[in-house]
């Protein structure tokens, strides 16, 4: 027997001992996990911080330059040191000031070298105004006017009076907008329906038939009634608008120009330099509320994103409703009924590969198959009148239903694979127990296998929802639009409008971030929208996880 065979096992080099005991592997695996989670957490924290900071009312600074020119605005960015001063030869840094007042100065932002700054102060009465059009306005309040006559003079009195009157003005404005959008929209829809009735009568019975005559008579009736109703609406909106038009607010800009803003134009105004913490918090809250509940303004770079939130949630839920039954049924056949063989393996591999197809391909397929193919046929059969009379497709173009179907197709492999795994994890002893009780295959699946596999199926659905809610590329082709204020699910009959185009948060990120004319001002909005989208996906997932954990408690056996 050789010496090495006799050697005691413990006597080895310390290094090989280390490897054998696996200590380095613990460090390696734990390190990878730490790096991965750090990157993800860093991204989320970055988005959350930048996104949440957008609406915080930052102080307004008045900066006077050496040339005598003064600027009033928020300091939004700062650059220190060399790279900022390479061209100018100056020492020190520079700052980016959001000067607003685009219509007067022709710029929203301005870089200012620190060396050129003569004085900086925070004037007490500096006011920031969010306007309906033209972006932000910064200035000092002078007086509040009613029909051109001064009601309150001086910043304090004018501001107090403004705070008293402004909510009422906003309410009247909102009411007028609501009347325009909904009630007038309803009248327009009635007119269109009557016109289409004539067109479809013409298609059905020929131009000279009684049917057409009857439809035309009905249309005339509708036209007369709509005209009368819209006159009534006109009276109402004119009253509201006239009452609003009386009020205006005169400001002095930092370069001593007088600017009169109609009160109706002022969405929100705040004086950050006078606000305490609670005042700032309340401004912060009300700006968030506007963001969450309002329609977008100014090419989506201001105002709210409510239609996009609504569209995202509606599309994701409809997608989940569509993909769940399809995926589960397909997986059931594959796992429970199909006999294992080369064909089943090929199908399984094909499904796995589908998950790797670029999503834009699904978009193109959705556009060709769902919108033009299916939708075109539906239009030909059911909405011919609209196609002929208005040359306007109903289902034959992008819409909520087609977008949801396209994404359902995109996420189908995820659901199938997860469901198959969940089904495979159901112990065979349970199936046998059920068969031994005299249950048929379907009874066994429905009463034993599916309930037991449900948590696993939910996991697949959660993954699918997370993937679907964040997808942009296919949506651009099948129904997401830059602006679509008519919600796909709303209060007007028949409440769900699957043919309507809609807005989507993920697309809004692209649109606001990269297509906006005022990209500096839009940049914080991009972070806020991203933050919102991540939050919504997280909320949807948390809801699903909550349901799953309840199912798990009910159905999955504890180890004994």
């Amino acid at each position: 027997m050789s010496f090495s065979r006799r050697r005691r096992r413990g006597v080895r080099s310390p290094f090989s001992n280390l490897i054998a005991q696996g200590e380095p592997w613990v460090w390696l695996t734990a390190g990878s996990l730490a790096v991965a989670s750090l990157m993800i957490a860093g991204l989320l924290v970055f988005i959350a911080v930048r996104g949440a900071a957008t609406f915080w009312p930052r102080p307004l600074v008045e900066v006077c330059l050496t040339g005598g020119q003064c600027l009033l605005g928020e300091v939004t960015d700062r650059e220190r040191g060399e790279e900022a001063t390479v061209g100018s030869g100056q020492t020190g840094g520079s700052q980016l000031i959001r000067t607003a007042n685009f219509e007067l100065t022709g710029e929203h932002f301005r870089w200012v070298d620190d060396a050129a700054v003569e004085s900086t102060k925070r004037p007490e009465w500096a006011t920031a105004v969010e306007r309906l059009e033209g972006g932000r306005f910064h200035g000092y309040p002078l007086r509040l006017l009613r029909s051109g006559e001064t009601v309150a003079e001086g910043p304090a009195a004018a501001w107090d009076e403004y705070r008293r009157i402004h909510p009422e003005v906003r309410r009247r404005y909102a009411r007028a907008v609501w009347i325009d959008r909904h009630q007038r929209g309803e009248l327009q829809r009635e007119l269109r329906a009557a016109r289409l009735a004539v067109a479809s009568a013409r298609l059905e019975a020929g131009a000279e038939s009684d049917l057409v005559a009857a439809a035309k008579a009905a249309e005339q009736e509708v036209i007369a009634r709509v005209a009368e109703q819209s006159r009534e609406l006109d009276v109402m909106t004119n009253q509201l608008r006239d009452a609003n038009r009386e009020w205006s607010f005169e400001f002095r800009t930092v370069d001593d120009q007088l600017v009169t803003l109609p009160l109706e134009e002022m969405v929100q105004a705040w004086q950050p330099n006078r606000l305490g913490l609670f005042g700032k918090l309340s401004v912060y809250g009300s700006r968030w509320w506007e963001f969450l509940s309002d329609d977008p303004r100014e090419a989506n770079s201001a105002g709210g994103v409510f239609p996009a939130i609504w569209g995202t949630v509606a599309m994701t839920l409809i997608m989940a409703l569509l993909v769940a039954p399809f995926g589960v049924l397909a997986a059931l056949y594959l796992r429970e009924y199909a006999s294992s063989g080369p064909l089943t393996s090929i199908v399984r591999i094909a499904i796995n590969n589908l998950a790797g197809v670029p999503s834009i391909v699904y978009g193109a397929f959705g556009l060709g198959f769902f919108c033009y193919g299916l939708g075109g046929n539906i239009d030909d059969i059911f909405f011919r009148a609209s196609l002929v009379a208005d040359n306007q497709p109903t289902f034959g173009t992008g819409g909520l239903l087609w977008a949801a179907l396209t994404l359902a197709l995109l996420t189908l492999p995820v659901v199938i694979v997860a469901t198959e795994e969940a089904l495979a994890a159901v112990p065979n002893s349970m199936r046998e127990g059920s068969y031994a009780c005299g249950a048929s295959k379907w009874q066994t699946i429905r009463r034993i296998v599916l309930p037991r596999a449900l948590p696993g199926i939910m996991t697949g659905l959660i993954l699918a929802m997370a993937r679907g809610a964040g997808e942009v590329a296919p949506l651009m082709l099948v129904g997401v639009k830059k602006l679509a204020l008519d919600l796909p699910i709303d209060g007007s009959f028949p409440f769900i409008h699957p043919e309507r185009e809609f807005m989507h948060l993920a697309y809004l990120i692209y649109d606001v971030g990269f297509q906006s004319p005022n990209s500096q001002a839009a940049q914080p909005m991009v972070f806020t929208i991203t933050f919102l989208l991540v939050t919504i996906i997280a909320l949807l997932n948390i809801a699903a996880i909550f349901i799953r954990s309840r199912l798990k408690r009910r159905y999955v056996m504890q180890q004994f």
Partner: protein, 291 residues
């Protein structure tokens, strides 16, 4: 008692010195020794020259045995001797396994089990089966017990309640669970779960109760309870039970069949098998000197 007799012709006398187990292992065909007393009983189930193959491997060789009515019959033998396969053939659970082929037949109260016209679902409703590992379904205790009624579409609450209580009492579980019938069955202990499975099996009033090593996953106390239960079931149900435990077979069964490598070696009253078996091979197995 018709077809069974044909197979039990007097076996060609083997030399008394030949070890039958060795003969079986070397592939010889050896006859089964079936005691006269077994043949005197009324059978509920008759197994008739039953052969079974998994693919090309033969797992059961010409098994012929009657299972007496309202008695407990135990199948013993070393692992892989085909006890469980035989049991699973009785309610045709082996149909689920691809590549299983059979010849021969079994008759349940005279109805051919492997008749092509036999509806396998109906057949399984006439039997109850309890598995090695407790397999309660992921639902409440109540729903577990009335499962076989539910799949028949029974909705009458009164009927369901009655069957549930009777079955749980029959499985000696009623007192332990009567206050939590609607809790999940998965919260029960292993022994309770197994008795629940027995309750589920007897809820459908089976003609035969098949127990596949019902105690192998249980601790001694739970085993004792299940054995007591089997004792109580005697006389009311015909029980066919697979076991690895000789003491259990001797305590709980009326008849014992010794199987080896897919063949029935000896089959007789339990007392005879354990005290004065016809074959010395059986004696050495049941006394633990072999296997």
């Amino acid at each position: 008692m018709t077809g069974a007799d044909d197979t039990r012709q007097p076996a060609p006398p083997l030399p008394a010195t030949t070890d039958r187990l060795q003969a079986v292992a070397s592939g010889l065909n050896v006859p089964s020794e079936v005691h006269e007393k077994v043949l005197e009983e009324t059978p509920v189930l008759e197994i008739d020259r039953f052969n079974l193959w998994y693919g090309t491997k033969q797992a059961l060789h010409g098994i012929s045995m009657p299972i007496p009515h309202n008695q407990v019959t135990a199948l013993v033998g070393p692992s892989g001797c085909g006890k469980s396969t035989l049991l699973r053939s009785v309610n045709r659970l082996n149909d689920l396994v691809q590549s299983v082929q059979i010849t021969g037949d079994m008759r349940l109260n005279g109805d051919s089990i492997y008749d092509p016209r036999m509806d396998v679902i109906d057949l399984r409703k006439r039997m109850g089966m309890v598995f090695q590992k407790p397999n309660p379904f992921p639902m409440s205790i109540y729903e577990n017990v009335v499962y076989s009624l539910r799949i028949d579409g029974e909705r009458n609450r009164g009927v369901l309640d009655e069957v549930c209580e009777l079955s749980l009492r029959g499985a000696a579980l009623w007192d332990e669970v009567k206050d939590r019938l609607h809790d999940s069955a998965l919260g029960l202990s292993g022994g309770q779960q197994q008795r629940l499975c027995i309750a589920r099996a007897i809820a459908a009033e089976p003609e035969v109760l098949l127990l596949d090593e019902p105690c192998s996953a249980l601790d001694p106390i739970a085993t004792g309870k299940v054995e007591d239960l089997i004792q109580e079931l005697r006389g009311r149900y015909s029980v066919l039970m697979v076991t690895h435990n000789m003491q259990q077979a001797s305590r709980a069964s009326d008849y014992t069949a010794f199987m080896y490598l897919g063949r029935l070696i000896e089959y007789g009253p339990t007392s005879d098998i354990f005290t004065k078996p016809m074959l010395k091979e059986t004696e050495s197995y049941v006394t633990g000197r072999f296997g």
